[in-house]
Amino acid sequence: MATARGCHLPDELLYDVPNNMWYREEADGTVTLGMTSVAVALAGQLVAVTPKKPGKPVQAGKSCATIESGKWVGPAKIVCDAEVVEINEALVGDPKTANADPYQAGWLMKVRPAAWAEARATLVPGTAVAAPYEAKMAADGFAGCACAT
């Protein structure tokens, strides 16, 4: 597993570094996605997560979910046009799950992408993500997951 400034980044996932999102290809052609450990460290403890509903379309570069923490509200941005297939109801019920376990229990949604190959090409595999994430953290002035509150 790669680590950048104390933030874990599992090798088997794909990453949208600018938007702090991870993606996992599923055998049935769907894609599971969620917020990286960096995203939740930046946000702090989540108090609400509102994903778009199953069956709804989501647009590349636009919000697929609204998150709230510490009186901050912001979007989780998706990398591709897609249809929402399933949302993590357990995460909606207990948003802190994303802080505790961002890559497993804290997954956000499953989607069926419209043009996955094109979107996939813009993502960084986990085995190569440490360097670009380190560069982004430096540019953002982000101290690291252990220090963020």
Binding site: L42, S69, G70, K71
Partner: protein
Amino acid sequence: MSSPLRVIDVGSVSAVRSQAVYHGVADAMAADGTPVLTLATPAEPYVCIGLHQSLEAEVDTGYCRRAGLPVLRRYVGGGAVYLDSQQLFFHFIWPAARAPRGVSALYAHFVRPVLGAYRALGIPACLRPINDIHVHGRKIGGTGAAQIGAATVFVGSFLLDFDTAAMARCLRVPSEKFRDKLRSSLEDYMTTIRRELGSVPARQGIVAALLAAVRDEFGLAPGADALRAGEQAAVADWEARLLDPEFLQQAQRRRVAAAVKITGGVHLAESVYKAPGGLLRARVLYREGRLQDLDLSGDFTCFPASGIAALARALRGAAVDASLEALIDGHMRALGLDMPGVEPAHLAAALRQALPAEAGA
């Protein structure tokens, strides 16, 4: 030469305009746009709830309707607040790329000129992380933040004066006793510019202090400006959106807390716990994870009858942690209380039950 800061003071405006102005300016902002500070004062009182709050669970909508109080939902987090003409709103609207990324860093950054303005006015305000502004342990203002479009937004208000009774009246609470306690807790833990200074400076004096502090803290050159055509259209769009009953009444999206946050670290809560000997009702003011004040009541039996009030007094200041049950047991023994079907564990559970996670010890 300093970078510019567009200052758009819309003055005294309707309730919905006082919210729509920053939503619209943020939505219209380009990724490489010029930072904007908008200022507004609501001409009429209203209630404003956070993006993820449940309207009916948080607000006494029947009372608000009868009192003619508009209720609006904002695209910013946090809780329900009562807003009126005794508040001067400020909204820092920055291109996201020029704002800090982390939430804590964002608040620490944007609060600097606000604290500078308070100090210039003679009020030694400080940030109580994450996002409250305190003076001598009392809250003088809350702040909030959001990402809207390509902009990072930081919002708050200067509290010139505050009607605690009006705030307590418009929230939905479990009982009228709770409402009384809420009002007195707001009195105890909140303050205002009037309370700190004994009078309220002129609006233009507060604005001047804020702009001077922005210049000092951020090195920007504030210049008066007006809404541009694109911003006016975006503000109008947001007015329509904020007035849309569907947006206001959307289904609950956040678990309803059994507590009202008075300020950071201070929560008022009421819980009901079913013990074998009857229902226990605990109304508790938690402060930094401790029982600052509490009332215990219910339909259980207690000998002597006055003992339950004595127990509540004895528990003031107790930490809500693993030691609580033993502490209750000790006090019950010392007071000689006999409460059939009500054990120390039941009382401890009732006192823990409503403690919000963020208020924990």
